[in-house]
């Protein structure tokens, strides 16, 4: 008996390769690498520095919001309002700066707007018991409408005295020629990964997704945490909005339309489970990468762009199918 008591404590649950093969994120990484290799040989345009620069930068906007969405999805919730929140924060930034305020004021106003919307969503969901789907669907409509009100549905492309600073923030490449948005994405991914793995808050998010009732009984502040995750999700949309504004150099009221679906797709493809309790920062990035590589390759291979939705939708279904197959095996 003495042996069996100490031994298990040292014993790791699964060996490293076994864990890798069981992880959806790993297979998506393989898929991305294979797709990239294939495209490098099949087309001349893929492995050029300009195309890679474009791809990495295009990944970022979906990826940054997918990081925020990961928090929400781990708790078992969903946030459909992120595309509209991105639009509203872009518009608040644009209108504020257009009115002659500095970039700092613009960013503070824009981020504060995003956080306020996240708090509103979170309070309705956590304290009043509204279903997340309904609350954020409502907000999807409200936020975009507010963006139209704020700009009178015009295109804003002049950002006042700090115009150049804003364009540099989003469109520049300050380190080693890597597009700035990519740097922000990497930084935010590291922060997200750290929070999920190493903080009490991160642990509680997983607990809520695993068994909300148990979390409540064991004294986890479930309601506060739920409000916080919706604020994080909205914050990520706000940050993406600020960066995208700087990159595009102009804001219209249809920026971010339909983006919530790409974001949720990226999160799910990366291995997060919509039922809650599972998800990683790396998965969100990898999921976003796969979607972008699919989009990019269709263009390069000369396939009609109308097919995009079929391939991305197919990737989502395939990802969930793998998850189902693993679960079948486990239950056998």
């Amino acid at each position: 008996m003495a042996l069996t008591i100490d031994q298990p404590i040292e014993h790791k649950q699964q060996s490293l390769p076994a864990r890798l093969f069981a992880s959806q994120t790993f297979w998506v990484v393989i898929a991305v690498i294979l797709a990239c290799l294939f495209l490098s040989f099949a087309t001349d345009a893929f492995a050029t520095s300009k195309n890679l620069y474009n791809i990495t930068r295009n990944i970022t906007f979906v990826a940054i919001i997918a990081l925020g969405m990961t928090f929400v999805i781990i708790t078992g919730g969903i946030d459909l309002s992120v595309g509209s929140v991105l639009c509203l924060s872009s518009m608040v930034l644009a209108v504020t700066m257009h009115a002659g305020y500095s970039i700092e004021v613009g960013i503070i106003a824009s981020i504060a707007t995003a956080l306020a919307i996240g708090a509103f969503n979170g309070i309705l969901i956590a304290y009043l018991g509204f279903p997340p789907f309904v609350v954020t669907l409502g907000m999807l409509s409200i936020a975009r409408s507010l963006a139209m009100v704020a700009s009178n549905n015009t295109v804003v492309f002049q950002f006042g005295p700090d115009h150049a600073k804003l364009l540099a923030l989003g469109g520049g490449a300050w380190v080693f020629g890597i597009a700035n948005p990519v740097l922000y994405m990497i930084l935010l991914a590291l922060i997200t990964g750290f929070i999920l793995r190493w903080t009490k808050f991160g642990r509680h998010i997983f607990a809520i997704g695993g068994n909300e009732h148990a979390a409540t009984l064991t004294g986890v502040p479930v309601r506060q945490i739920k409000v916080t995750v919706y604020m994080i999700s909205a914050l990520s949309a706000g940050i993406a909005g600020v960066i995208e504004t700087g990159w595009l150099g102009a804001v219209t009221t249809n920026i971010g339309t339909g983006m919530e679906l790409q974001v949720i797709a990226a999160t799910v493809i990366g291995g997060a489970n919509l039922a809650g309790g599972v998800g990683t920062a790396f998965g969100a990035i990898v999921g976003a990468a796969l979607i972008e590589v699919i989009r990019n390759s269709l263009g390069l291979l000369g396939i009609n762009a109308f097919w995009q939705g079929v391939f991305i939708g197919g990737a989502i279904l395939l990802a969930v199918l793998f998850d189902r197959i693993r679960n079948f095996r486990r239950s056998d």
Binding site: T4, D6, H11, T199, R203, H213, A214, L217, G219, V278
Partner: protein, 246 residues
């Protein structure tokens, strides 16, 4: 001295008298079986001890001092731990994470504090060893048997210096072999001087492990005697009302 003493406790919800003038005392290191039919007032009584409800009348004392609980967290601070019927476990987390849920250990300075995985694995492993359970701290709860899951839920109660552990139907939904495991876990708690209140429908469990049995019927305590001086037949009679009171 009694670790927990209830004096003339009553609880009513509107016109419904759920618990009616119940007094009892529980000694350290004693296993008390709390039995009764559905609606007899067991759960209400336990929820008052656990801090979920406040008694309408009567008083509770712990170690001779008055005990007033406003919420479950306060009960825990006083050394009252509860093992819930559904165990309140998160399947997606490891055994150690579940044991420490809501009171995670952290290390670091000031606001920069991170989860202390090493200490949590180590301490959880020690507790499982104390419980003579084969549960491993790093295993996910979803991969565990019913008995191992019980061990995780019971390990929680051993993190702090619990004085009394309330267990709500711990053997209701598990196999015969696992029932034996759980009864062993209860004995280990008792051996450490912890009082255990075992709420159960299963006569054999109570008669195997308990020192005393308390029977409730329609909100009243109808029996409170040692196991040695009672019998399953008598307790069945008390539960159903065939025997009025002893």
């Amino acid at each position: 001295m009694a670790v927990l003493e209830l004096t003339n406790i009553s609880k009513h919800f509107g016109a419904i008298q759920a618990v009616n003038d119940v007094s009892l005392s529980i000694e350290p290191g004693q296993v008390v079986g709390l039995m009764g039919d559905n609606g007899a007032g067991k759960s209400t009584l336990v929820k008052m001890i656990a801090g979920n409800f406040r008694p309408s009348h009567g008083s509770m004392q712990m170690d001779g001092k008055d005990l007033v609980l406003h919420k479950p967290v306060e009960a825990r601070q006083h050394g009252i731990e509860i093992v819930h019927q559904d165990l309140a476990l998160c399947n997606n987390l490891t055994a150690a994470a579940n044991v420490y849920l809501g009171r995670e250990l952290r290390r670091g300075v000031g606001p920069f504090r991170i989860l202390d995985y090493a200490s949590m694995y180590k301490r959880a492993g020690q507790i499982f060893a104390e419980l003579k359970s084969e549960t491993r701290p790093r295993d996910l709860v979803k991969q565990m048997s019913g008995g191992q899951r019980q061990a995780v839920a019971i390990a929680r109660t051993m993190l702090s210096q619990a004085k009394i552990v309330l267990m709500d139907e711990p053997t209701a939904a598990i196999s015969v072999r696992q029932v034996a495991e759980v009864l062993n876990l209860i004995r280990h708690l008792r051996d450490q001087g912890i009082a255990v209140v075992l709420i159960s429908h299963r006569m054999p469990d109570v008669f195997t492990v308990a020192d005393r049995v308390i029977v409730m019927r329609r909100g009243r305590k109808v029996a409170d005697k040692t196991i040695a001086s009672s019998s399953p037949e008598e307790v069945t009679g008390l539960i159903t009302g065939a025997i009025e009171q002893v």
